[in-house]
Symmetry: D2
Subunit: 148 residues, 4 copies
Amino acid sequence: MADNLAAAEAQLLAERSAAVLFERDRASQMLGMGITAIRPGFAQVSMTVREDMLNGHGVCHGGLLFALADSAFAFACNSHNEATVAAAAAIDFLRPAQPGEQLTAEAREVWRTSRNGIYEIVIFNPHGEKVALFRGRSYRIEGPVLPP
Amino acid sequence: MADNLAAAEAQLLAERSAAVLFERDRASQMLGMGITAIRPGFAQVSMTVREDMLNGHGVCHGGLLFALADSAFAFACNSHNEATVAAAAAIDFLRPAQPGEQLTAEAREVWRTSRNGIYEIVIFNPHGEKVALFRGRSYRIEGPVLPP
Amino acid sequence: MADNLAAAEAQLLAERSAAVLFERDRASQMLGMGITAIRPGFAQVSMTVREDMLNGHGVCHGGLLFALADSAFAFACNSHNEATVAAAAAIDFLRPAQPGEQLTAEAREVWRTSRNGIYEIVIFNPHGEKVALFRGRSYRIEGPVLPP
Amino acid sequence: MADNLAAAEAQLLAERSAAVLFERDRASQMLGMGITAIRPGFAQVSMTVREDMLNGHGVCHGGLLFALADSAFAFACNSHNEATVAAAAAIDFLRPAQPGEQLTAEAREVWRTSRNGIYEIVIFNPHGEKVALFRGRSYRIEGPVLPP
């Protein structure tokens, strides 16, 4: 019972933190992202590859794939209502993303201390194929995500 | 004399490859980037942090910093008129970039074989401070950058 | 039935490739490593932290943690009897490993093409805690692992 | 004059910190490493590739290349007499190192705050060719390197 309450509270914090953060996140909005799932330490974010997201080779610019993964990372690592930012990240590009494809990034917390965390993000295309693998290192800054 | 001709030819290829690639690169254009210098194995690209590039913490979204570095990387690694794409990259975020700041990314080739290359990119803010460090691994695909 | 044969053949190749590679691998032997499980695309390797593996802070030297993960990576990416080497790797150190601890590295293939692969390796301590996360990029060189 | 004194003091701290750390560093000793230069934020470390350092492909095990770079990183990031450890690192392997070759790793500080630092390390072979590129992220723990 206490556990259920704690879990419900954690879920509520995750949802409210993500909502507040997304509302302020002009870049994710500009890129047409949407949060499709959120839980403590987990976020799923989608983005459709637009014509103005293509690079010189006619596929999605690697920076915008990174941005999608980075946003999922941000929503996951801020899901505990502790203001958290990215320190570093690495990405492997596995296959190109084509114009018109709806991509989905899933971010999972794999390790967290009071100051640092590590998150793994996978971007999938509509066929369920992996487009990119991303690993991010976060650190806490001062204060909560939610206004008091 | 032969060396001078070869160098002038290499410089011309770098300039033409970058121009052709940038013209097709809708994403870099959408983000307001401009190529400010290009040489064989080197590119300098600028981008001003717009309001619609801010994340939920009010500073430039990490994905768009990455995109700036990634574009500089692309122009540098395609400067030999051999079509080349990113295999992987890692970024360290050193300090936030503020709205209105004009950022400059400088990409340098540090190693290249017939198939693979490694490039280091530094993003500077207008005060000359390092904003991010990026290291990218490229690999060649078929064909030249320039149309025959 | 055909599937069972193919799987048995793949498993046999994995075991023989690992055995041949390990026998030639003086470094892994010098560090006291042992292969504790091998399957196509998977390897588990153990190593006990000796006194001569400690760094100046009295815990296992990060390079030797990396070496353990790197060996597991090598056995996993050579498990298809195609000679394969590491192109790049990244490691996150999560907690120190103490003298006397037996560490276990598990390597899993997460992506593979005819030329390149990506593997994730986790190092655990005897308490089942994660000590380090490692991601490696492999590429094929000429020839098989096994002698003809 | 004050500047000269401060620089001499910083140099002395770097030398003494490296000496104390190296004396305790059983792993670097076991691998035959030697510090060949040390300055505030800089270290140069050498290691000769022994027969017992070879991997299954007959060249220096990637983990021992990493260990060499990691030791240079450690001496550089502890050169300010502030106890510092590695949080994460990434390495690109550019060419194999052959048995008998004396390798040299040079570590340079590229960024440092009160808590974190970033260091770039290059490993050279005796022909001056780059063998590997390494980038490490450090963080300070409690206390100085030197005993009080």
